[in-house]
Structure formats: C-alpha cells, structure tokens
C-alpha cells in the first residue's frame, strides 16, 4: 500500500512539478509548530520534523545547535509528537531522528506513536539496510513509511536493495558529508540522483547540501525534488518567526515552479 507521503510526492511528479520537503527541528523555540504550519501553507509538499538527539553524527553545526537548544528547553520525543498529533498541518510529515530515540521508546511503541500522531514517515539515518530488521517490521505494521538513504559511496549493486526497502521516497544524499549549506551544489548530487533514478520508480529527493533555491533547481534537473534542512533551520535559529521561515520556503517553491 502506498502511504500518504509517497502519494503526495507522486502526485506532484505526475503533475509535472518538483517536490519541496523542508526540514524543521521540533521543539526549537516557542513557535516551531506555527512555523511548520506556515511552511506547509508556503508550498511544502511534505515536512520533515527533526526530533532532537544528543549525538547527531549525520548533522552539521546548524542542526546540532538547533538540537542542543531544543533539548535544553526541555523538548522530548513525546512532547514534540504530542503537539504534532494535535495539530492540523495539512501536508504529510516524516520524523527524522536517530536510532536510539526509537529504540529507547521501543520500536513498536515508537512506530505506533508516529502513526497515532498522524506522522506518515520516518527517517533514521544511523539505521542502515543491515540493521533495519526490527524497526521496519514495526514501522510496516503501523503503516509508517521508512525512508532509506542512498549515498554516493554505495556500490551499484547496493542501490536497488535500498530503493526496494525504502518507503515514501528515496533520500539521495547529495554529497560526501554531513548536513549543512554549501556555496555550490556538489557534482555528486546529480550523479547519485541519476544513479538512484535509474533503478527505481519511487520518488527520489536529494538532500544534504541543498541550501539555495538555485541549488534546488539544479538538482531537480535530474531528480523529483529536494529536502532543505540547514538553510531553513538557520532561519528558525535567527528568530525570524513563522513568516520569515515561510518566506524562504516560498522562494524555494517559486524557483522550483519557475
């Protein structure tokens, strides 16, 4: 069965458009939920909600700082998911966090908590193909779409296995490195997007290193859409409020719709 996340991204693709999935850190500041709603209204196809972890090894300085601030203000996985559950965001959401947050709550309970909260998908970047077992069983049973990452280092024979296992979309990691804004779109972004597109019909989104509308447009020459994280979270950290963050998302939307 195709979940709400994949359906939304396929719908955009079938209409000839490109998908935009902003990442926002849950629990960051008092208005993070209002910001998510504003971002949805500004044209996001889906939204990634970061649940902070103390040791985010895949994340660069901006998202690390956002994690630390959210944790220091007392945010917990349940406090974030509880507020998401009671909100009407209007587009599908996916939680991005690290394996230990889900493991500690219990794979099944975590999956059920996401499903009960209306969260469509989940991304656990430190749970690679080799370790998905218990988690994807629980996620599949709860109807949560587990998005898998495909990195530039993957040999050709690994990519089809990742795409096969991925639900919602396939997250093509745009470069060798951690999350963060770069001056230029890495050459590796289009290469990995092309390699992944060649082996799957599922929506393929490029993330990591997409920091400007121009970079998003360039990546979308090859792929179905983009995930934008650090640039958005930087705006949250700057205290621009929901309108300020939504304004940036509107810029991405306009560029992709160009």
């Amino acid at each position: 069965m195709t979940g709400a996340l994949e359906t939304a991204l396929r719908t955009r693709r079938e209409a000839g458009g490109k998908s935009l999935v902003p990442y926002l850190t849950g629990g960051l500041g008092d208005d993070w939920l209002e910001t998510i709603q504003a971002v949805a209204d500004a044209g996001a196809d889906a939204i990634e909600i970061g649940v902070p972890f103390s040791d985010p090894v895949m994340d660069g300085p901006v998202i690390q700082l956002a994690n630390d601030k959210a944790l220091a203000s007392g945010a917990t996985p349940l406090s974030i998911l509880d507020r998401v559950r009671r909100a009407d965001i209007g587009v599908p959401t996916a939680v991005m966090t690290y394996g230990n947050i889900a493991y500690r709550m219990g794979w099944e309970r975590f999956a059920n908590t996401l499903a009960d909260g209306g969260v469509s998908g989940c991304i656990l970047p430190d749970i690679p193909l080799e370790e998905t077992g218990e988690w994807v069983d629980a996620a599949d049973a709860a109807g949560v779409e587990t998005v898998m990452l495909a990195a530039p280092t993957a040999p050709d024979d690994r990519l089809p296995l990742i795409c096969e296992r991925s639900r919602g979309f396939v997250y093509a990691v745009g470069l060798l490195g951690i999350t963060g804004v770069r001056a230029e779109l890495a050459d590796s972004a289009k290469v990995i997007a092309g390699r992944v597109k060649a082996v799957t019909d599922k929506p393929v989104l490029v993330g990591v290193g997409i920091g400007t509308p121009e970079q998003a447009v360039q990546a979308c020459e090859v792929t179905d859409g983009v995930v934008v994280g650090s640039a958005i979270v930087q705006r949250m950290l700057d205290g621009t409020g929901p309108e300020g963050v939504a304004a940036l998302v509107s810029e991405f939307r306009a560029a992709l719709d160009g």
Binding site: V57, G99, N100, Y103, R104, P128, L129, M148, A154, R158
Partner: protein
C-alpha cells in the same frame, strides 16, 4: 568460553552491529574484508610483528610487585603496557590499523582521543607511515592534557577541538565520524577502542590480543599457571579486551574497573550510539548522558559491545570505582613500586586495593595500560 569472532553482522551475542550513516556502510564493509584478508596473510602478520617488536618495544614485561603485594595481601603482577613506545597499549592497535590503511591505499588518518594517548599513538603511526592525520579531542580534554596535545602537534598531526556537547571523548568521536563521512574515500578512521561499527570492536580487540597472549605465557613462566584474577580498566574497553582475550578460555576471573561516573555496564541499559548496540548511559528518552571521570581516557558513556556481551553472559564482571579511590591507587603504586600509572590504569588497582580482603592469597594480574606522565600536572593540582 573464549572470545571468538563476531557473527557476519558483527554481533557478539545481541550486541554490536553496524549503526552508521549509509555513507559509511560501504567503507566499513570494505574494511571488514580488508582486515580479514590481512589478518590471514602471514606477510601482514610478520610486518606487524616486526613493528611491534623493533619499533614499539614488545613484548612488554610482566612485573611481580613484591612491595605492593605485601601491602595488599595478594600477589599483584603488572602487565607493563606503560613501557610501550608512546606510553600505553594504544600503539598496538594503531600500528595494526595504520598498516592496514596503507594496504588499502588510504593516504590519511582521522582519530578521536580522550586523554590523548590514542591521539599520540595515531600521530606517531602517521609520522612513521608518512600519512596525513587529524585528531579530534574534546576542548575540556585539551585543557587537562596539554602535554599530549603538544606531542601530537610535534608529530605533525592537526589537533581539532570538539566543542559540542560535553566537550570530551564522546564528542570527539562524533566529530571524527562527521569528518570521516566527508573524506571516507581517502581516509581511514583509526578508531581507538573496541567500539564503533563492525569490524572495529573485533579488529581492535584482535590488534590488542597480543597483550593477553604474551601475558598468558609470561604467567606460565612466573606462576606456573594462570593468575586467579585479571583486572583492567574499562572506558570503551580496548586494553581490557586485549588482556581478557588471552585468558577468556581459562579459569581466571575477569574484572573490568569502570569509573563510577561512567559505569555503562553498571547501569546495564542497552542503546545505540557511535555505530554499535551496547550498554550506554542515557536518560529515559535515549539521550546520551555525559560521563564524569577524573580520567579523560575513561570519560565515556558507552562501552564496547563485546564487553556488554561478556557482562551479560557473566564471563566478566564490571565494577565501579570512585575518583577518590583512583587518586589513592595512583599514589599507592608510585610509592610502593616506583611506577607512576596512568589515571586510567589506576582504576584497576583501585579495585584491587578496595577488594584486598576477598583477594587475600590470590594472584592478580593487572593490565597497567599506560604510564602516568601525562597525568602528573593534573595530579599536582589535585594533591596540591
């Protein structure tokens, strides 16, 4: 039981695995294959043996401590890893990994360090093998171990401060992994303990197995048999894994001394961080807690997965010791034997000293994993 190879997925019992970002999975798999091939290759083994002998100064002796034994009422022997080149057991693993990295065509090394011993050892190997080297160290540790920071720089290594989180070993591992993700094709991550994703816990233990294998033979000569108890300090657990592996199939009792403020096994809560599933200090939500220890080298909230397995199966016991007990042990060995131990190694002696009554009449082998020169400035402050 003995300490055997992990499963294909890198599991010791239920512990271990390969919990890393997708970008790093192929590198870990490539390393697994390369290590298996190298470890089965007599030429690789011979070259490593030559380095350990002619460069690092192995075998390290076992010292029978008459004065200390008289004071404690049990016979204490020390496996003298403090006498290795660079001053600790860390050189065993680093020479193995650097040789392997060269064989794999890597041109650079990245490492994390706590007290600086692994950082200095890695910097040393990088100098010897003419490789570029970056070492991450928590800024708290940079302050308390400035001598080792200077050593690394002198050896041509770039030392970078880890400023996130607790700014100690845990955060240095995070930064080293983040660095590795970006340069994985040219760079080998020279991980300093029996932790991280498969194959590291297994590979690092194998590179330190020489400690236990030597000690077993030396004890046969000195005691006519195995000691009753083997003791080693445990942070991630590399020196303990090395000496335990030589005695796991004997009747000797295996004791790991954990800092009370970093007792991952003592709390016995499993979790996932830094590439493996093992015991981990964490809060109710799975956020990793900051360890607190006088010793920068043991200031780590996790423990290697094989130790979690040894604890779960009852083959080894892990006992907490306090900073105050460690300070006393540090003074005790200096005073009785003329050997200044690393604060890390003093944890093992602190346990022996505390448990002297139950150890009466027994033979106890302590892995003296490092020498205390690096800790002297810190101890001057503590002891006034």
């Amino acid at each position: 039981m003995s300490m055997t190879n992990p499963s294909d997925g890198g599991r010791f019992g239920e512990f271990g695995g390969i919990y890393v970002p997708e970008t790093l999975v192929p590198a870990c798999q490539e390393l697994d294959i390369a290590f298996r091939e190298a470890w089965a290759d007599p030429d690789f083994r011979a070259e490593l043996h030559r380095l350990l002998t002619d460069y690092a100064g192995r075998p390290s002796p076992v010292t029978v401590c008459d004065n200390l034994s008289e004071e404690l009422g049990c016979q204490v022997l020390l496996k003298r890893e403090d006498l290795n080149h660079t001053g600790s057991h860390k050189i065993n693993n680093v020479l193995g990994q650097a040789l392997l990295a060269k064989r794999m065509g890597k041109t650079s090394l990245v490492a994390e360090t706590g007290a600086g011993q692994h950082g200095v050892a890695t910097a040393t190997a990088a100098a010897l093998f003419d490789m570029d080297c970056v070492v991450y160290m928590g800024s708290v540790d940079i302050d308390r171990q400035e001598l080792n920071v200077f050593r690394m720089k002198l050896l041509g290594t770039e030392v970078r401060a880890a400023e996130s989180g607790s700014r100690t070993l845990k955060d240095a591992v995070n930064e080293a992994m983040r660095h590795w993700v970006a340069v994985v094709e040219s760079t080998h991550y020279c991980l300093g303990s029996v932790m991280g994703p498969h194959p590291y816990p297994w590979m690092v233990r194998e590179f330190h197995r020489v400690i236990g294998d030597e000690a077993r033979e030396q004890c046969q000569r000195l005691l006519g048999g195995d000691p009753d108890v083997i003791v080693a300090c445990v942070g991630g657990g590399s020196n303990a894994a090395g000496i335990f592996s030589g005695f796991a199939d004997s009747d000797a009792e295996l004791i790991g001394a954990e800092p009370a403020g970093g007792a991952a096994v003592g709390r016995a809560v499993p979790g996932i961080v830094h590439g493996s599933f093992s015991y981990l200090m964490q809060d109710e939500w799975g956020q990793v807690l900051e360890a607190q220890s006088i010793s920068a080298g043991l200031d780590y909230p996790g423990i290697g997965p094989e130790h979690a397995h040894l604890a779960a199966t009852g083959r080894a016991r892990y006992e907490p010791v306090t900073d105050a007990e460690v300070v006393e042990a540090f003074k005790l060995l200096s005073r009785t034997e003329g050997i200044i131990p690393a604060l890390e190694s003093a944890h093992g002696l602190a346990w022996i000293s505390r448990e002297r009554e139950q150890l009466a009449g027994k033979t106890v082998l302590l892995n003296l994993s490092g020498r205390g020169d690096k800790d002297v400035a810190q101890m001057m402050d503590i002891l006034g």
